[in-house]
Amino acid sequence: MIITGNAVKVGDHINTDLILPGKYLVFIEPEELAKHALEGLDPRFPEKARGGVVLIAGKNFGCGSSREQAPIALKHANVKCIVADSFARIFYRNAINIGLPVVECKEIADKVNEGDQLVVDLAEGVIKDLTLNQSWQIKPVPKFLLEILTAGGLVEYLKKRIKSK
């Protein structure tokens, strides 16, 4: 799985109320949720992300609520991948389950600049910054999680498995 996009940078401890405020939880339609992605931090984010972006975050990204609407909003706002120093655990699982790649990499947040062109290769475990001409090794995503991501999420993955039985 190879992902490309321009970098958008955010800080540490970006919580689920910033990613998708609680008042929007009555919505489950991805397009509606996407309009409010990261609204708590920057209401213009959906516009910024339109062309497809890789989100570069600090520590503990996605902390707080278990709301799956948070990663859904980001994915449908055209966030292709999130690279963070670390993730909150429920967000990490949710993102993979809805088919949004998430990668831990501790060295990258300080180096990449907003707008840099990035390529993330999940299977190889490499992030390249084409603007800076620099690359970083990441821990490859475990095989069974990569299978879920490649299938497009847990629902599609389970569907396939049930069919093949």
Binding site: D17, L25, S66, R67, N94, L158
Partner: protein, 419 residues
């Protein structure tokens, strides 16, 4: 093995497990509510399985957007009711019958020591207070549980917080857990289990223990957990069938042990915009407030309402403040009625509502305007959590919130704690 490891070993049919190992565990109980349930139901239907794995093991609760405030949330409730009926899920809690999911689950006997419980809500970690392994999951993952009855977990490392001494009232469980989060930070226990032990925990009521474990997720923990003791057994036995509690082995291992002395602990307040921005109440005393909220899955229990009524008995809510009180469940509401607590609070000028999550998550009932300040017994003070992103939320114990509501500003409850 420690308690978490023992529960996960049993649930995955293994003799022994170690931290870092990935296990496929059988789920004993699965809970959804009205804001995460409808997405679970949609995903379950997409998977293409007709029936849930076991309708008796599923609990469905309406608590967040209740009673319905918009047509949209009324529709979510219909989705929930219809699914419960179609699937024969009897453990369905209509509004007025249950209350906040994290109170209803232990109160109605769905939380048994030694079991594995998942809920589509981050505060599912509350149930560790009764010696269960309980954790929050997302809607899609819950749909997979509904279809298969199983879920994978990485066996976590466990941090052991040993609380020595005795909490001096009105300092309470809330002050202790805020203090701990202030010490370790909002990601201090990420991916790990947080065990609470020591004499201060043994002396603590079940209500207090639920408060402690409830906030484990605010330091990133997968679950909070407390070893079941005689008090746990009494609480659970009064509500349910037979069960087999598990206990840590004497040679159980922990990644790290934190020793705390709670004897001198003073009431604590978590200041915006982060739950680990914790200060002793004395440092921010005098800060003016507009709203005070007593309730939520953290602090809407009987003991919490008792503490509030003790302060409000001979006092009135300050003219510049509105105090919102929401008992966590219908059962607690009735007990508070019987004890005369509701009358005391109403006479003091509190707005009292039936059980729901209320303003905690800013969806409904008591949201804040820009530049307003609220002191709250709930669990998160993130920017925008309770309404406007320009509002401020301070987290504290029920006693501190009640005292602040009376004074119109953040106040040390010890100044109003009379018998």
């Amino acid at each position: 093995m420690n308690l978490v490891e023992k529960i996960l070993a049993k649930a995955s049919g293994k003799k022994e497990v170690a931290p870092g190992e990935i296990v496929d565990a059988n789920i004993d109980r699965a809970m959804i509510h009205d804001l995460t349930g409808p997405l679970t139901i949609e995903m379950f239907k997409k998977i293409g399985v007709e029936r849930v794995w076991d309708p008796e093991k599923i609990v469905m609760i309406l608590d967040h957007q209740v009673p319905a405030d918009t047509v949209k949330s009324a529709e979510l409730h219909v989705t929930m009711r219809t699914f419960a009926r179609e699937q024969g899920i009897r453990n369905f809690y209509e509004i007025g019958k249950g209350g906040i999911c994290h109170q209803v689950m232990p109160e109605k006997g769905y939380v048994l020591p030694g079991e594995v419980i998942v809920g589509a809500d981050s505060h599912t970690c509350t149930y560790g207070a009764l010696g269960a392994f309980a954790t929050g999951i997302g809607s899609t993952e819950m749909a997979a549980v509904f279809a298969t009855g199983k879920l994978w977990f990485k066996v976590p490392q466990t941090l052991n917080f040993v609380a020595q001494g005795r909490l001096k009232q009105p300092t309470s469980a809330k002050d202790l857990i805020l203090h701990i989060i202030g010490q370790v930070g909002v990601d201090g226990a990420t991916y790990k289990a947080a065990k609470f032990s020591g004499p201060a925990i043994t002396r603590m009521s079940i209500d207090g223990r639920l408060t402690m474990c409830n906030m484990a997720v605010e330091m990133g923990a997968k679950t909070g957990i407390i070893e079941p003791d005689a008090q746990t057994i009494r609480y659970v036995s009064a509500r349910t069938k037979k069960f087999t509690p598990l206990k840590s082995d004497p040679d159980a291992e922990y990644e790290k042990t934190f020793e705390l002395d709670v004897n001198e602990l003073e009431p604590q307040v978590a200041c915006p915009p982060s739950v680990d921005n914790v200060k002793p109440v004395s440092e921010i005393e005098g800060l003016e407030i507009n709203q005070a909220f007593i309730g939520s899955c953290t602090n809407g229990r009987l003991e919490d309402l008792r503490a509030a009524s003790r302060i409000l008995k001979k006092n009135k809510v300050h003219p510049n403040v509105r105090l919102i009180v929401i008992p966590a469940s219908q059962e607690i509401y009735q007990a508070a009625l019987r004890e005369g607590i509701i009358e005391i609070l109403a006479k003091a000028g509190a707005y009292i509502s039936n059980a729901s999550c209320g303003p905690c998550l800013g969806g409904h009932l008591g949201v804040l305007a820009p530049f307003e300040t609220c002191i709250s017994t709930s669990n998160r003070n993130f920017i925008g959590r309770m309404g406007s992103p320009k509002a401020s939320v301070y987290l504290a114990s029920p006693a501190t919130v009640a005292a602040s509501a009376v004074a119109g500003k953040v106040t040390d409850p010890r100044t109003m704690w009379r018998s």
